[in-house]
């Protein structure tokens, strides 16, 4: 139920993101979700790929600082109030969200939102209990 996210440290300089995408692409790995958190002088790229262990391997070989973090991917209805429903549940049951972003998976009626929560085991328990649907792999 946990999804492996790869985080990569990036300096805020031209071409670094291109380098990451090239490394991933050359290894035949597909991006399933992507987001960047940035500050004045550095950024953290967070990605979900179809083959996370291989993704880590090629990034490390290319001398990137990268690590795997467990996150939750929740399938939502692609309609008004879809996200609100999850937020209400998380809020009620004390699931603290560190960050979230949207994935590239967008099927007819649903989308997948990636959540990094403070306590992932607690988060998953709440997901299960409240009947939300979490994705297990991409």
């Amino acid at each position: 139920m946990k999804v492996k996210q790869i985080s990569v440290f990036l300096e805020n300089t031209t071409g670094r993101l291109a380098e990451v995408t090239k490394t991933i692409a050359n290894a035949g790995i597909n991006l399933r979700a992507i987001s960047i958190a940035d500050t004045a002088d550095f950024g953290i790229l967070r990605i979900i790929v179809d083959k996370p262990d291989e993704g880590m391997k090629v990034l490390k070989e290319a001398d990137f600082t990268a690590k795997i973090t467990d996150v939750i991917g929740i399938i939502l209805d692609d309609q008004p109030g879809g996200l609100m429903k999850v937020m209400d549940i998380f809020n009620r049951d004390g699931v603290n969200i560190e960050y979230l972003y949207s994935s590239l998976i967008n099927e007819k009626e649903s989308v997948v939102i990636i959540f990094k929560v403070e306590d992932i085991d607690h988060g998953l328990k709440i997901v299960e209990k409240s009947g939300l649907e979490a994705i297990s792999s991409f």
Binding site: F9, L10, T39, D41, Y99
Partner: protein, 438 residues
């Protein structure tokens, strides 16, 4: 004005007689009273009575900064602790600092040499000295302060910082002499210019600048911007603080107060004494110090000695402005920093040997701008920006606390710091400290 004509215009033979007498007394005293020196002399097989001429000084062993640390705090005292009236430590060292203890006589000596230096820069009792060196354990502030006393000049003990107030007081009190680090003087000039102030309307005539290396180009800039004559002063905590040597009106070499501080230039590799005019490491013996006397102390500063017929009338030996150092010590914002200290601090924070690089620049702001680049390693990398910001702030705060200076911390990707010969180049010093050297 020459503060002490008798000494400063003494002929060489007479000066050497004084030096020899003082050297003999010193060697005897430290041999009897400081176990550290007795042991060292015994190990080198030299006895106080072996010193018959000044040249015999080369028989004595050198003293190093490390030994001063090892004997912390009072291992080098040659006077009873009761007779110590002032204590200073060297700036910016982690762990064990270097201690200088002063007896009443030492303090009088310090006042005397500083008064001579102030006079070399043209100061006398009619002057108002704005002393913007830091007051505290750092010897700069109190050194100048002590010297102003016997000279009879008024001293404004404003210490460093608070630049707007500096500029205000400079006008209110009509300061005629400014004492601070050269980079701070240029910073003052910048603030003054931003505030629409013109130094041509000030009363400053001389600036006595030291505690960090600076170039002749920087002198030209300071003299132009602050509308004063800029003099280089040299000193180090171990020997006395400021007052070891200073430039006179000729601004060509620094007259050494050689009746108290006996200079030698040595080959840093072999330890062999080099003749006048040859470049090497500067070594001092404190001929009259009672608190913490030093025998052949290796300053690690590179320069050469010369005696010329100086137009100021002084006959004392001169040293050329510093040409560099023969260790990796950096002087940043007037604070002594060794790269190893930065490494130790980083290791404590990250629990691992970090890759880092220090980039020092003095172009835009005139103040030393230091960027510490630290490669982000897996052991402290996080998927959350706030965690990395915490690491960054912690590095900044620890450096500030332990080194006493504020560094700009930049987290960089691994392998961005250039490795040469398998070893990283730790320091990139972009300050052009020798620019315009004659």
């Amino acid at each position: 004005m020459i503060y002490n004509k008798e000494i400063e215009q003494m002929n060489v033979t007479q000066m050497q007689e004084i030096q020899l007498k003082r050297l003999k007394d010193l060697v005897k005293r430290v041999y009897e009273k400081v176990p550290f020196y007795k042991k060292k002399f015994d190990e080198s097989g030299v006895k106080p009575e072996d010193i018959k001429t000044l040249a015999d000084i080369s028989k004595l062993p050198f003293t190093t900064k490390n030994e001063m640390r090892e004997t912390f705090p009072y291992g080098l005292l040659s006077s009873p602790l009761d007779d110590i009236v002032e204590i200073h430590t060297s700036s910016g060292t982690t762990g064990t600092p270097v201690v200088a203890g002063y007896t009443e006589n030492d303090r009088t000596l310090w006042s005397e040499v500083m008064a001579r230096c102030l006079a070399m820069a043209g100061a006398d009792k009619t002057d108002t000295i704005q002393n913007a060196y830091g007051y505290g354990l750092f010897t700069g502030g109190l050194g100048v302060h002590h010297g102003a006393g016997p000279l009879g000049a008024a001293v404004i003990p404003i210490s460093s910082g608070n630049t707007q107030k500096q500029l205000q007081y400079m006008q209110d009190f009509k300061s005629t002499v400014l004492t601070c680090t050269p980079s701070y003087s240029l910073f003052m000039a910048e603030v003054a210019s931003e505030s629409g102030l013109d130094f041509r309307n000030f009363d400053l005539k001389a600036g006595i600048f030291g505690a960090e290396p600076w170039s002749d180009n920087m002198r030209v800039e300071i003299e132009k911007k602050l509308n004063l004559k800029a003099y280089d002063i040299y000193g180090l905590t171990e020997i006395i603080g400021p007052g070891v040597s200073c430039e006179c009106q000729e601004q060509n070499g620094l007259h050494i107060n050689e009746d108290f501080f006996y200079p030698e230039i040595i080959d840093a590799e072999t330890g062999e004494v080099l003749p006048e005019g040859e470049k090497g490491e500067l070594v001092f013996t404190t001929l009259s110090r009672e608190g913490t006397p030093l025998i052949r102390y290796r300053t690690r500063d590179i320069t050469w000695l010369f005696r010329d017929k100086c137009s100021c009338g002084r006959t004392t030996i001169k040293m050329h402005r510093l040409l560099g150092r023969n260790d990796d010590m950096l002087i940043i914002k007037g604070v002594n920093v060794f790269p190893s200290q930065i490494e130790n601090i980083l290791m404590k924070i990250e629990n691992t040997e970090p890759h880092y690089q220090i980039i020092i620049d003095r172009e835009s702001t005139q103040l030393d701008n230091v960027e510490l680049q630290v490669e982000v390693e897996e052991n402290f990398f996080s998927d959350e920006t706030k965690d990395l910001e915490i690491v960054k702030n912690r590095i900044h705060d620890e450096m500030k606390q332990q080194l006493g200076i504020s560094l700009n911390i930049k987290l960089v990707e691994p392998k961005t710091i250039e490795r040469s010969m398998g070893k990283a180049k730790r320091v990139i010093d972009k300050r052009d400290l020798k620019a315009g050297e004659k």
